[in-house]
């Protein structure tokens, strides 16, 4: 089926963002994907490009997230110039709404701990009471106690992002193969030989960006990817005239007008169906946040599976046993898209993830914990 500089296993947001970054470096690329129906976290994404509250327990992740957020405008512009597709990235500042005093207190406490970490990247987070929040978010319901606000938070259209990445890859001559799951990975001289139902693919480098599939694939090249599915459910409404400029962590209006309402954290294995009680709870919080949404119609609900590591942070790692094989896995494919395309891919192309930036993200951190 051909030989390539780099084979990327996974055609979701993570795989295509890294692939796009590599294509910009001039690499000959193959993206190997599953079929039309698969556990696709990318299609279930809420679309936040989110900074606040990320990185408690790993300040490197906070810095990595902020760097991606900072690079996002560049990614948006590049994709628009190359494909004509506007990914609708905007960074108007985002809110986390608290509905009780207890929630507000926990939020403040968590933020304090996050920003008190040594080596924490500094940025502004403000806490506003209901009255001050109303100036920025008209229509907040009477049950809203307060909000936290971060001017770095934004959002994008995850579906347009995925399409733009695919379109940009196609324009740059990358090979995209759907219905091509990777069954086996072996060394063949200097190259990796990937066995698929459609034949064998040879590549100089290999990126594993297969989401939950990484758990199976990583050991084939001497790494471990302890990822598990964590279900998140989302509701989406009919199109509504623009009423909400800012993204909230659980409510945002898309560029097309529909309102997305998230989300849940559920340990449900590989069951990605929708549960009414959880959907009801999400709807309840949404109408408490914006009572005017009560009469807006929900067009669709869905469940999707996040790709979760034991500590919730990404894995970026090059195989020590099989240099040239890289493992990339995270659950924030939109937020980190710019980081993957513009910050990570050049290192992959150069064949080295510098320790200073990436050592913290190695999956070896889980071995250490298991041993301790």
């Amino acid at each position: 089926m051909g030989a390539f500089d780099v084979a990327i296993v996974g055609g979701g947001l993570v795989g295509t963002a890294v692939a796009y970054g590599l294509a910009r470096q001039g690499a000959r690329i193959a993206v190997l994907d599953e079929g039309d129906v698969a556990f696709r976290a990318s299609r279930g994404n809420f679309g936040l490009v989110w900074v606040q509250s990320k990185g408690l327990g790993m300040p490197e992740y906070a810095a990595w997230t902020k760097a991606s957020s900072d690079a996002w405008a560049g990614l948006r512009d590049a994709l628009r110039d190359e494909t004509g597709i506007d990914t609708a990235f905007a960074r108007p500042g985002g809110f986390h709404v608290c509905l009780t005093d207890g929630e507000m207190e926990r939020r403040r406490e968590q933020n304090k701990r996050l920003h008190n970490q040594p080596d924490m990247v500094p940025y502004e987070v403000r806490f506003l009471d209901r009255k001050d929040a109303l100036d920025l978010l008209p229509g907040l319901g009477p049950e809203v106690v307060g909000v936290s606000y971060c001017p770095l938070d934004g959002h994008a259209n995850p579906l347009k992002l995925l399409r733009a990445l695919h379109a940009a890859l196609a324009r740059r001559g990358a090979a995209y193969r759907s219905n091509t799951p990777v069954q086996r990975i072996e060394r063949s001289g200097d190259a990796f030989a990937l066995t698929t139902p459609a034949g064998t693919i040879l590549s100089g480098k290999l990126i594993l960006a297969a989401g939950l599939g990484n758990a199976r694939l990583a050991p084939m090249v001497g790494m471990t990817a302890p990822v598990r599915p964590q279900r998140g459910q989302i509701l989406v409404t009919e199109r509504v005239a623009p009423f909400l400029k800012h993204p909230l962590v659980t409510v945002r209006q898309t560029d097309e007008g529909s309102v997305m309402i998230g989300d849940s954290l559920e340990e449900a294995g590989f069951d990605d169906r929708v549960g009414h009680a959880v959907v009801a709870m999400m709807a309840d919080r949404a109408v408490k946040t914006f009572p005017a949404l009560r009469g807006v119609r929900v067009v669709r609900t869905w469940g999707a599976l996040r790709v979760m590591t034991p500590d919730g942070f990404p894995i970026y790692q090059q195989s020590a046993e099989h240099p040239g094989a890289f493992l990339v896995t995270c659950h924030s494919g939109v937020t980190l898209a710019a980081g993957h395309a513009l910050n990570l891919a050049p290192h992959v192309a150069a064949g080295c993830l510098p320790d200073a930036a990436f050592a913290a993200f190695s999956a070896r951190r889980f071995d250490v914990r298991a041993a301790a």
């Binding site: 009919e238 509504v240 005239a241 009423f243 007008g257 914006f290 005017a292 009469g295 807006v296």
Partner: protein
């Protein structure tokens, strides 16, 4: 573009308004039928391109006959039965929410 047959069973006259204009319907009719029978062919413009749309399937499937009924936007006109005093408004693009 549609007219009632002359020799129908008698049904009570129901009065409603469309964008403030009074129209008459018959009891038991759907709002979409009442609109078509009063010569209203275009019931909304789409939120995507602003194109005009009228009732299409009349059985609740296509969502092209969306109108505002008594202040509630995006109701399927073919699935709602007319009532005296009902206020129907044609939809212009996406519905609004008033915060």
């Amino acid at each position: 573009m549609f007219a009632r047959l002359p020799d129908l069973k008698e049904r009570a006259v129901v009065r409603l308004t469309v964008d403030g204009r009074a129209i008459e319907a018959r009891a038991g009719e759907s709002v979409a039928a009442a609109l078509l029978l009063s010569g209203v062919l275009v019931v909304r413009t789409t939120p995507v391109s602003g194109a005009p749309r009228g009732p299409f399937c009349m059985m609740g499937v296509c969502f092209d006959c969306l109108v505002s009924i008594d202040g509630e936007p995006n109701r399927q006109a073919c699935m709602v039965t007319v009532r005296d005093g009902m206020q129907v408004e044609r939809m212009q693009g996406a519905r609004k929410v008033d915060p």
